[in-house]
């Protein structure tokens, strides 16, 4: 580390995190604008209808589902973008090593995920409230208006999506063949093994909170550890 001052590792990472929050502040607005657009354009998350004998019903649902899907996609996109070479070159404009650069970017992903969750929640509240104000229709509240567990699940999936995509881009940069093979294996197992997105969700959504937390931490550790390891290796083989 070439620095005139003696800076500890934690301090360095913290400083870089703050720097990234400022420099990449456009990622926050991107997430926000996408969420606002989808909240405004869609009238709720969906609707279901049907009949029960002479009873016909039509239900419009305002839920976090749509915002969740959008957040996952934006996390995947931003995770990929954060690992691109141009942004990584930007990251070297502050005093850094490959290790602190990667760690602080991953921490920035955490900040971004937390922001995504709360902005999704705000978007839902604002949409529902404006609807209540301007439409004269009684709305049925079908769940608690604020649930920590929901937010937590939201957060971990957004975070995993972001980390996975960051890792994927890192892998893509170092070895396109490996990336291609991995993609083929995943697609092949999804086609033949009956593995789908729901299998992925079911893997994490287990009854016991401890088990779920363990699985999440395990997966995040694998992604983060591999990402950091690959980045370290790149430092050595620079030509």
């Amino acid at each position: 580390m070439t620095s005139l001052n003696n800076v500890s590792l934690a301090q360095n990472i913290w400083q870089q995190l703050l720097w990234k929050c400022r420099t990449f502040s456009s990622t926050f607005t991107t997430v926000l604008i996408v969420q606002i657009i989808f909240s405004v354009l869609s009238s709720g998350s969906g609707s279901s209808g049907g009949s029960y004998g002479s009873l016909l019903y039509n239900e419009s649902i305002y839920s976090l589902d749509l915002l969740f899907i959008i957040s996952i996609f934006s996390a995947i996109m931003l995770g990929w973008l954060l690992a691109t070479q141009s942004i990584r070159n930007d990251n070297y404009s502050v005093v850094t090593t490959n290790f602190t650069e990667t760690v602080s970017t991953l921490l920035f992903l955490v900040v971004l995920s937390i922001f995504t969750v709360f902005s999704a929640l705000s978007s839902l509240y604002i949409t529902v409230f404006t609807r209540l104000l301007f439409f004269d229709q009684v709305m049925v509240i079908k769940s608690a208006l604020f649930e920590i567990s929901t937010l937590f699940i939201f957060l971990i999936f957004v975070l995993i999506a972001g980390s996975a995509s960051y890792f994927a881009k890192t892998l893509f940069d170092i070895s396109k063949i490996t990336f291609l093979l991995l993609t083929i294996v995943i697609i092949y197992s999804m086609q033949t093994g009956g593995i789908s997105e729901s299998t992925f969700f079911e893997f994490f959504l287990v009854q016991s909170m401890g088990e779920m937390l363990g699985k999440v931490l395990l997966v995040l550790t694998i992604f983060w550890g591999l990402t950091i390891a690959i980045r370290q290796r790149r430092e050595v083989i620079r030509r």
Partner: protein, 226 residues
């Protein structure tokens, strides 16, 4: 010339957009400081909206709790048992809605249920009376649909008696509502178990009981009369 005039507005819009883009690239709108302000204001709006939703109680209703639903389901099963055992006199008086008397003139009495009669069940019991009066009694327990009590909106079935023929129909009801779910419905495992299915769908009994003197003959056209 006309073509040029027609394209003029489009050209103007393009020029206007180009101008905006040019201007926007010169001025940096989303500075970090402004971004943090926007985020802060957005979160504040979210909190205000949450408080607003909580305050506007006249425009929101809550669904019944699982406990209330279970009580209703138990009650439904209890009435079901009474229905199965033809013990109509034991159905609590709270559920009694109306009773009508019809006079039969022929030996054969036909019953036709409308195609949409799905919730109302019709049962026939016999009595030894010599009179020609058929007594129709309608019972209804609180109707819960999709975890909401909709008893007030539900209309009792219409019974028409013409030429010794009963026509029983239910009035069609359109039920539109908007719901808020601050959770991830898509991640919830679909519960195929009977209990939660009943909790989420229709709870309640609608029973039409016809007490018929023995000397009549009942012809059931629909095959649904118990």
């Amino acid at each position: 010339m006309n073509v040029l005039i027609a394209f003029l507005p489009i050209l103007l819009i393009i020029v206007f957009l180009l101008g905006i883009i040019k201007l926007a690239s010169r001025i940096r709108i989303w500075t970090p400081k402004r971004t943090s302000w926007v985020i802060l204001i957005y979160f504040m709006l979210g909190v205000i909206s949450l408080i607003g939703i909580l305050i506007m109680q006249d425009k929101t209703t809550k669904t019944l709790s699982k406990q209330q639903l279970k009580v209703a389901l138990e009650e439904e099963q209890k009435i079901d048992e009474l229905y199965g055992a033809d013990k109509f006199d034991q159905i609590p008086a709270d559920y009694f809605v109306f009773t009508n008397s019809y006079e039969g003139t022929a030996e054969d009495i036909e019953i036709t249920l409308g195609g949409n009669v799905y919730n109302t069940r019709v049962a026939v019991t016999w009595n030894d009376s010599e009179s020609n009066h058929i007594i129709a009694t309608y019972y209804e327990t609180p109707i819960i649909f999709k975890r909401m009590d909709i008893s007030k909106d539900i209309q009792p079935p219409t019974i028409e008696f013409k030429n010794n023929h009963f026509y029983i129909t239910e009035e069609e009801m359109q039920f539109d509502f908007t719901s808020i779910q601050v959770n991830l419905e898509m991640l919830k495992p679909i519960d195929y178990d009977q209990m939660s299915y009943s909790l989420d769908h229709f709870i309640g009994n609608r029973i039409l009981h016809l007490n018929v003197p023995k000397h009549f003959n009942i012809i059931d056209n629909s095959g649904w009369v118990d």
